[in-house]
């Protein structure tokens, strides 16, 4: 879920394009960087005569910390599913009841009643994705549909593997690899997780986020990564492939919520409804390169995404997908300790 690059330029461009027309209202969006389609925003602005401003963040923790401080002036944020329960518990977002909105009928049934927001009382799906393994098949041609690429690296890839340092994703993958359940407190499993990680690390070359560029330049030959990032890598180099690990892989979804302190609640609701429209959802996907949860949007998807196996999970792999959850604080503490030991 790393969209680190700034979209400040996009924000500025939007400002410039909209300042001429007098808007009836405003909408302030707080979203991950390089994640919001300028075309879709323009369409929203024109349809409702609303002036949209976008501000970036680079991680769920940053967004949560900032909104918790209050007085941000934002109306909308886009937290990941693992964080949505925290936003609800901490009273940061309001019930806008998207489940009753006009376009809600378009939401795919499997996403209409998610565990993190039963009945969709707060959230509207923005993007979905998976965390899997990316391999440059010029460097390694063996079977790659396993976390073993990362945790038991084949000789051809030793010293050429990168791991994206997202703590929860890495530990989730390692737990799956040793055959445990996510958020487990079973010490025997966690011990195996730690030993697996510590033993695997010498075969890794780096732990960083900048995978698109480094896979492209050949600094890495394999990496753990998000599917949208993998798609961009394959479009640049056809030898690069995305694999769904058979031990189980994480599914994530980012969701549009309306802040309690929002000043433009009505516009925010309009926006929630607006992005559940198939054409608009496809427009968002065309920009951020991730799938969406809107049925009928595939009609409007760009050609290079329609059948992309990074975006459309193959039927055979679907059984191994599992929605990543937020672990309780005491489990999180164990994770941090394992993580510190791994990176020490």
């Amino acid at each position: 879920m790393n969209r680190k690059t700034t979209a400040a330029a996009i924000g500025l461009a939007l400002l410039a394009s909209t300042s001429l027309a007098r808007a009836d209202g405003e909408l302030n969006i707080y979203n991950w960087g390089n994640y919001t389609s300028p075309d879709v925003i323009k369409k929203f602005e024109q349809k409702y005569n609303v002036k949209v401003t976008i501000t970036d963040y680079d991680s769920n923790d940053t967004a949560l910390a900032k909104v918790r401080q209050g007085g941000t002036g934002f109306d909308i944020a886009v937290p990941s599913q693992t964080y949505v329960p925290i936003w609800i518990q901490e009273g940061l977002i309001q019930e806008t009841d998207p489940g009753k909105m006009e376009n809600f009928k378009n939401v795919a049934p499997e996403w209409a009643n998610p565990e993190f927001d039963p009945g969709r009382k707060y959230t509207v799906p923005w993007a979905l994705g998976t965390v899997g393994v990316v391999v440059n098949t010029d460097a390694y041609k063996g079977p790659s549909d396993s976390w073993g690429i990362i945790f038991n690296t084949p000789d051809e890839l030793k010293g050429k593997v990168n791991v994206v340092p997202e703590m929860n994703d890495v530990i989730f993958a390692a737990i799956k690899y040793v055959g445990g359940q996510q958020c487990t407190t079973d010490k025997a499993v966690l011990k195996k997780v730690r030993d697996t990680l510590v033993a695997a690390k010498p075969d890794w070359i780096a732990m960083e986020y900048n995978t698109i560029e480094k896979m492209g330049a050949g600094d890495f030959k394999a990496t753990s990564d998000w599917n949208g990032s993998a798609l961009r890598q394959r479009l640049a180099n056809p030898a690069i492939h995305y694999f769904y690990p058979k031990e189980g892989f994480g599914l994530w979804s980012d969701n549009v919520v309306v802040l309690k302190e929002a000043k433009n609640v009505e516009n925010a609701k309009l926006f929630q409804n607006f992005i559940m429209d198939p054409e608009n959802a496809a427009g968002l996907s065309a920009f951020h390169r991730y799938a969406n949860a809107i049925t009928g949007s595939d009609k409007y998807m760009p050609a290079d995404m329609k059948d992309a196996q990074e975006v459309v999970i193959p039927e055979a792999d679907k059984a191994h997908a599992e929605l990543q959850l937020m672990c309780p604080p005491d489990v999180q503490e164990l994770y941090t300790k394992i993580w510190t030991e791994l990176q020490k």
Binding site: N162, P165, E208, G218, D219, L334, T340, Q343, K344
Partner: protein, 306 residues
């Protein structure tokens, strides 16, 4: 006479009071801007972590215990926090090596600059400051472009047939050191040059006249006289190098944590703000102790030379 003296004294007193009063706003701002955030960090280090980041207003020494001791997650025994010690030592070692490397490169550079003619000296000084015109991140990425597998060095060596496969420089300790030395070199050169410029080179000539060898001149005359510059330069390099964040993660690949990464982890995914605060204070204490030891040591040897 007496009254005139009193008047003068009174005027002086008023003058002093006036000066204090006029500088009070600036002094207050500096005082609170310097101590305020530090105080918050100190207070936070004694609180309980909130469940999802932030702190709970409940006293707890846990964070400070966790800086030094760790409870094994598997057999529950309490032992020295080996992971923290390893990370602290890695950062300190890197800072020391960076200081030595920049000193080894910076001292001759400063000497070269100081021995040029008045006019060209300014040009050299100007050239040294050029790296400051660009952002640290950009300079680091420039180093990355040079040393990566498909970068300048490897491409040239491959073309010349000197090597048959690219040398892995990026993501090694060498890469970190090259980057650090490059980034911090100007901070070493400038203070040394400042003292070297004031050096009376007639003393050097006198040394040679008295049959001192080149090494003796360097050790007994030049070095003692430019020592304040060397100390200032070393401090200017050591402290930021200890907290270096960008260079080690970009060139080292982020596999091994530095102090700054460890602290960042606590405020981000680790959600343990008190531990992050305690670690920050611990780093400050280390820097202060190192500085005091250094300055004291330097002061003492100064006396011996005098």
């Amino acid at each position: 006479m007496a009254s005139a003296e009193e008047v003068a004294k009174e005027a002086e007193r008023r003058d002093i009071r006036m000066r204090w009063l006029l500088s009070a706003p600036a002094l207050l701002v500096i005082f609170f801007a310097a101590t305020g955030p530090l105080l918050i960090v100190l207070v936070y280090s004694f609180l309980t972590p909130g469940p999802y980041g932030d702190v709970r207003w409940q006293f707890s020494p846990e964070a400070w215990i966790a800086v030094f001791m760790e409870r094994d997650i598997f057999d529950d025994t309490l032992s020295l926090a080996a992971a923290h010690v390893t990370i602290f030592w890695r950062s300190i070692k890197l800072a020391i090596i960076t200081t030595i490397a920049t000193l080894a490169l910076g001292f001759p550079t400063a000497y070269f600059m100081a021995t040029r003619s008045e006019k060209t000296r300014d040009l050299w000084l100007f050239l040294i400051t050029i790296p400051f015109w660009t952002n640290l991140l950009i300079r680091t990425f420039a180093v990355l472009q040079i040393i990566r597998n498909e970068g300048l060095i490897n491409t040239v060596l491959l073309k010349l047939g000197i090597i048959s496969a690219p040398i892995q420089i990026l993501f090694t300790d060498t890469a970190i050191l090259v980057g650090m030395a490059y980034v911090y070199l100007p901070l070493m050169v400038l203070p040394i040059y400042a003292s070297m410029e004031k050096l009376d080179f007639r003393l050097v000539e006198a040394g040679y006249d008295l049959y001192a060898t080149r090494f003796q001149v360097l050790r007994r005359i030049i070095f003692p006289l430019v020592k304040p510059g060397v100390i200032a330069g070393s401090i200017l390099v050591f402290i930021p190098a200890l907290g270096a964040y960008v260079t080690p993660s970009v060139l080292g690949g982020g596999k091994n944590m530095m102090l700054s990464n460890l602290i960042e982890l606590q405020f981000g995914q680790g959600r343990n703000w008190p531990l992050g605060s305690a670690l920050s204070i611990a780093v400050m204490v280390i820097v202060m102790v190192a500085l005091l030891a250094y300055v004291r040591n330097a002061g003492r040897s100064e006396v011996r030379h005098g």
